[in-house]
Symmetry: C3
Subunit: 471 residues, 3 copies
């Protein structure tokens, strides 16, 4: 049984003098409040504030960062709690937990293990590394903890020191949960909706007409026309902003943003509705919609987060059996400089417009994102995302971005997680990694330690607040 005791100096540089600097820089920010301007925790969880059902459905089943690598070594997804063909899961929470413990070594060297170690130790107080031998014992310990009031969602929210938590929400969402939270005098946390309209941009998808209907119902605008859809989106953005939302999110396979003439867009809209739209026209429709969302952002000032370059549902049989978000969304080569030219030509220097660029193709950090953020006042370099959200990924991001965009045009850390209990571990990882990067600049005399401490503090406070207009 090895002790689970995350080292206080973890992620700091090996060189003793450099490490000392990193320690001091980290100390400046270790306990700073958490700003989480992009993630996938549900507001309803905080409304209900019910105890979590069990360790597996909290920590494993919904988190495709965890299930994918277990799947990669041969564990079928239904043994991890995923629903096969919509049926009830057959695996018990305990058996799912045993799978994780039995395959604990698979995660060696990965950020998933790193987060788990921090989380199990610091949130749950476990003292032993998971293993096949102690799986049941640890499971019982977690079950007991989760049943206590101290582990209800709101208690954890407070304990984690979350200053702002942004959710991700469909434009047709009525934001009832957000309103309930805002109106609840017993809950003082700040939980903001984020407007994500991806599904309305894809007229070739079979679910598109039904989505338009739902949005018509919520918004009161007839989304049967393109003009109506734009009105509906515009009005829902205003509702989101009124509910405290400061940003939108958009996930697209590419960042193309060529606008269409309204009449052409109407024609494509009709073709989408009657099922006759071609693949090329669906692409043109999507790219125009990205442009229109930027146009709206330049009017209402909601910060536009852009996440291009992920090929969703690469393994069709897994999609058909287990649904989306099951670990086989995979990165593809991405670009920004050319595809964003139309948006940036028209809104790039508009002071109301703001765009945060994320990527899973790290070649774009030094080649496109930093140069764009280093010229356009509206463009910010988003933190390392998804497959790149790791200590090594953060180091490469800072090394690649800082030269052309400095620190002030970066977004601050984004956890983008469904795993509520990993939020403090993820932000802590980011703070340690940034301290290590800054320490390397100090140790090589590229930055004074005073300046580095100032940067470290801004990275966890002013910078996310300013970037996402949370002030």
């Amino acid at each position: 049984m090895t002790r689970l005791t995350p080292h206080p100096d973890r992620l700091f540089p090996a060189d003793p003098a450099e490490r000392d600097i990193a320690r001091r820089l980290y100390a400046e920010v270790a306990s700073a409040p958490i700003y989480s301007p992009h993630g996938h925790v549900e507001a309803s969880m905080l409304v209900a504030n019910e105890s979590f059902a069990d360790p597996a459905s909290l920590l494993i089943t919904p988190d495709h960062y965890v299930t994918r690598l277990l799947h990669a070594v041969g564990v079928p997804l239904d043994e991890l709690g995923l629903r096969r063909d919509g049926a009830e899961p057959t695996a018990s929470g305990r058996s799912i937990w045993r799978q994780l413990c039995a395959h604990w070594d698979v995660f060696l060297g990965t950020p998933v293990r790193y987060w788990f170690e921090s989380e199990l130790s610091e949130v749950f107080g476990l003292t032993e590394h998971p293993s096949a031998a102690n799986a049941d014992e640890l499971y019982d310990e977690l079950v007991e903890k989760l049943a206590s009031d101290a582990f209800r969602p709101r208690a954890l929210f407070d304990r984690f020191g979350i200053a702002v938590l942004a959710t991700t929400d469909d434009p047709a969402d009525d934001l009832a949960a957000h309103r309930t939270l805002a109106d609840d005098p017993t809950f003082t946390g700040r939980v903001l909706p984020t407007f994500r309209a991806d599904r309305y941009m894809l007229p070739a998808e079979s679910t598109w007409p039904a989505r338009l209907d739902a949005l018509s119902a919520t918004s009161g605008f007839d989304c049967g026309t393109y003009a109506g859809l734009l009105d509906a989106l515009r009005s829902r953005r205003a509702v989101f902003a009124a509910a405290g939302g400061t940003s939108t999110d958009t996930g697209v396979i590419d960042a193309g943003s060529e606008p269409l003439e309204p009449a052409d867009a109407e024609r494509l809209h009709r073709a989408g509705l009657d099922g006759s739209i071609t693949e090329a026209d669906a692409v043109a429709y999507r790219r125009n919609m990205l442009y229109q969302l930027a146009a709206m952002a330049s009017e209402d000032g909601l910060v536009m987060q852009l996440h291009p370059g992920v090929l969703r549902n690469h393994h069709r049989p897994t999609l058909d059996t287990f649904g989306p978000d099951t670990g086989h969304d995979l990165p593809d080569a991405t670009s920004f400089t050319r595809p964003l030219a139309p948006i940036l030509r028209d809104f790039g220097t508009n002071p109301t417009f703001r765009m945060v660029l994320f990527t899973v193709d790290e070649t774009t950090f030094s080649r496109e994102i930093a140069p764009l953020a280093g010229f356009y006042p509206s463009v910010y370099a988003g933190a390392p995302w998804w497959f790149l959200d790791t200590p090594a990924g953060i180091a490469r991001y800072r090394a690649a971005i800082t030269d052309s965009a400095g620190f002030v045009k970066t977004s601050g850390f984004i956890d983008d997680t469904r795993a509520f209990c990993s939020i403090p571990a993820r932000h802590d990882m980011s703070r340690r990694s940034d301290a290590a990067f800054l320490a390397s600049l100090v140790a090589t005399h590229q930055l004074s330690e005073d300046d580095a401490a100032g940067v470290a503090r801004r990275l966890v406070a002013d910078i996310p607040v300013d970037t996402f207009r949370l002030g």
Copy 2:
């Protein structure tokens, strides 16, 4: 005259504490047996077991890693022993060796020099760095060594501690050399064939019909039809497997794998035979063949190695004069996520199917290969290959791959060499580089030293054995 004494701590981190960790991790694996599941040493060399002719034809002429950089500084290839227009080489072994010694500084900082230093010192016992001044003296010393029994191929095979050596063989090869070795009670080494069918996938090549004829002769199937070619390949794979082969290799310019209807494939096959095939159809034929090879692998369980992205014979005049494999095969941008979608859709979760992905475009490590290996049970992240098979390349590979695929979905080291005597130096480089990477994780408290030692041991034993089904 500088002493040729490779430092015992070479490639270990500079920080003293980190270096101590690396030393201990390396000590765990320094003398472990060598698994070489992919390379270009010939089985016939071990059958004949004749003394090597001379230092130049052993160490320089056949090794395009060496000749290319000498060519790049102006040494004509025929002065390095390559045959001009098929004629006998004019340069003597001694004059070729002198070229290397005179240009020894050209290799400063390169892995070729690193391997040579290890090899000349540890295999051949030289004590001085090559130079124009001592070239003849060193040549004589090498000639004398090579004439001794201790430097015959089998003696070196044993001395190198090679547990498994895989060759690369044409499907039309009768594998006589492999059978002779297997039947020879005096040779106890394990030498396996690897099935490489590249040349049968390219119907626009002028040599394609003749290759089909040769394969028809060996296999007994009529390769004049597409169906016959598939039968022939399938039957030869079985012969390779029976001869101990556990894997195949495929080199393609891209990883496209779209299957064709059999009737369409037959039509393209005929067009290839009568010389009327278009470039686009030749591409479609090749991509279908890649899919068919995957289909066969999902039946017979031969591990499918894939090496895409190298533009062969970039310099046409050099090809015309000196033939292929003469140093001007050059990398191009490569992708995996999209082109492999057909294969992975149909075989990606088939437990019999296994695919090891190699690249010379390192952008694909974090963007495609690690994410694919981190979801698909069938996909493994191949070791850094060719231009990336260097201490710095290995460090970047581990840093880029580990986050999404850990260690267990990597392939273990591959030497892929024609230079028999460099095998121990190459594997040693890999072990040192991995020890350095693991030490950095330990020093930054991302991994315990015990866990790191376990990983180090697995990387040179279980991992290659499991990946290539050598158990």
Copy 3:
């Protein structure tokens, strides 16, 4: 007020033993003469040798490295001295300088700040970091210095220890300034023209016919025909060579180099002149011209510098208002292996031909540039350029290039700057960064310290002299 005292050990590794090595290596080259074979300082400045007008027009306004990041945080370009719609600038030198000082923290961690710190301290003797508080005081100090004879261009040229300075010049330039300098017995510096014919390669540009007219006038050849243009370029190259020029420069959006039949090129030339050329034909014309420039280089031996992959003038409104070179030239994905195949097939092993490849897409370092330079005698790997010309960029370049191309096939440092006073700081940064890289190879026993010192010395002397044929 923090002291402005660049640390003597800046950019050296943190590990004390490694740092000691770097110190010794740097000491070998710290005061070596500066070879600057590519840049944008004007020869006329040295002819006139007038005192610089003021700190802002010397240090800020013309340097898009500086203005772009200020623009990115919201400072309008006209407040930095750029001409709005061709009008006289409205911002005073003092107010521009105040903008820089007020935003000094924006540059933290960037090479711009690094260069400024070296330059303000070592060239101008400032002792305080710029800030809003001391902006006026520092401005006055700089104004006073600039008025003194010691800060005239020629005095600085001597003080900087510039052995060779290459300018960048239009083929239609009469090189009068270069001749005046060469004929002036009181100026002993070596200032060479560089032939840059980009603008003659773009027949769809509205300014193309006027440029051809100007070139006809200078050259005496009628550029109304394609054949005439080739003659004109050829003759101007000879004039540049006679004026001491040893190289050409070419900036193109891609490196495509497919030659055209002369009759086809003539047809496209005419279409360009009468305004009827299609976009595709304009591309074909440009790529043919790149091929023709290589053909000329293989005749006259002028070293061909190639800078592909920058999308010029990304933000059309800024171009329309402020003109080109105003900070929104942005990198795009680039390749070399395929597009340069025609040139390298025909001239790649021609000993007269030489080509230095630069990139702003660093993925090409290990994938294309190093492998090409590691085979073709004619190809050299250009130093990190523009967005990559930073300490971190240089470290990545060396790590990515050395494996396949060693040191001798790299170009030596290129400052490529319009900022005359930053030349010593930039070369010093490069020397420190290379010392750090070499020290890491020594500390990990990949290179002896003697060999490393030899490489360091060659990188600042023989290597640029040989690469650019300056001997």
